[in-house]
């Protein structure tokens, strides 16, 4: 609690107001990310509308096991992140350090699972182009979206993991006070990446899988 005054940055004059401002600014950023991914989902929705049957066939060739594991991993990571975001301003150092570590680990677990899944997809030849195993041709469109959507999501997750590890290090080294607004906004970012996956999972693994 005593660190607060050291955290005030120009032009803010009141720490509580600065914290509110940082939160607000980050939510505006999240709104922009909603539009970014929203654009992608929009394109997917249009093409699914135009080629519903082909998209279903494509979806049947994604691996539900990997998808389910990944969803559970991210949901759990969000749980730990929530404890961090609540624990840090209350001064709970061990909760914060532990929570961030588990969160990062679960995130890495997601990326590893995804990597294995990608490997499997490649060995099944599911990269659009010559030699694509499925018909009709619009299944390639589905997999175009699959690779792009999961790829962009994975990049976002990777960035998130790096940020989590960064603040973990700074907190452990006592270079970042627990009251810092940075912790809350990294939490918001992490949850947002989780929310994106909550949309990706049904549209790439579930919708119409079993007619």
């Amino acid at each position: 609690m005593t660190d607060a005054s050291a955290l005030i940055r120009e032009p803010w004059e009141d720490f509580a107001r600065q914290k509110e401002g940082v939160s607000f600014g980050f939510w505006i950023f999240i709104a922009s990310e909603v539009m970014f991914f929203g654009g992608l989902f929009f394109a997917f929705a249009v093409d699914r509308y135009l080629h519903t049957q082909a998209f279903r066939i494509g979806l049947q060739h994604t691996d539900l096991t990997y998808g389910t594991i990944n969803t559970a991993l991210l949901m759990s990571s969000s749980f730990f992140m929530t404890a961090v975001v609540r624990g840090a301003p209350a001064g709970l150092r061990r909760t914060t350090v532990f929570g961030l570590a588990v969160c990062a680990a679960l995130g890495v677990g997601f990326l590893i699972t995804k990597g294995i899944e990608y490997h499997d997809d490649i060995s099944k030849g599911l990269i659009p182009g010559a030699g694509f195993p499925l018909r009709p041709d619009a299944t390639q469109l589905f997999f175009g979206f699959y690779w792009i959507m999961t790829g962009v999501h994975a990049i976002h997750l990777f960035v998130g993991i790096c940020l989590v590890l960064l603040i973990e290090t700074l907190i452990v080294l006592r270079r970042l006070p627990l009251q810092s607004p940075t912790i809350e906004i990294i939490g918001l970012y992490w949850h947002f990446v989780d929310i994106i996956w909550m949309i990706l999972f049904p549209i790439l693994y579930l919708l119409g899988r079993w007619p």
């Binding site: 607000f24 929009f42 949901m75 969000s78 929530t82 579930l206 919708l207």
Partner: protein, 87 residues
């Protein structure tokens, strides 16, 4: 301890919803399965947004910022739907 308890409740709910959505897909209900999948996804997103991201206790300003992204997407989806659905 208190920072873990309420989030744990949400976590269990999320995992239960995960099971439910897979079950709904397995149930072979056609369009209803799809509707359920999307509905459950919406509930999960709501839980994460409102409870994990703390929108429940945030200022009006922050809630407006959160809502504006979603609202603006409507312009993109609805007006383009007008094009594709009427071709």
């Amino acid at each position: 301890m208190h920072v873990w308890i309420k989030p744990a409740g949400v976590w269990i709910a999320l995992l239960a919803l995960l099971a439910a959505t897979i079950g709904a897909a397995h149930a072979e209900l056609g369009a209803l399965s799809i509707a359920l999948n999307l509905l459950i996804a919406g509930i999960c997103i709501g839980l994460i947004g409102i409870l994990f991201m703390n929108l429940a206790r945030s200022s009006v300003l922050i809630r407006l910022a959160a809502a504006s992204g979603l609202f603006w997407l409507l312009f993109l989806f609805v007006m383009t739907a007008g094009d594709y659905l009427s071709r």
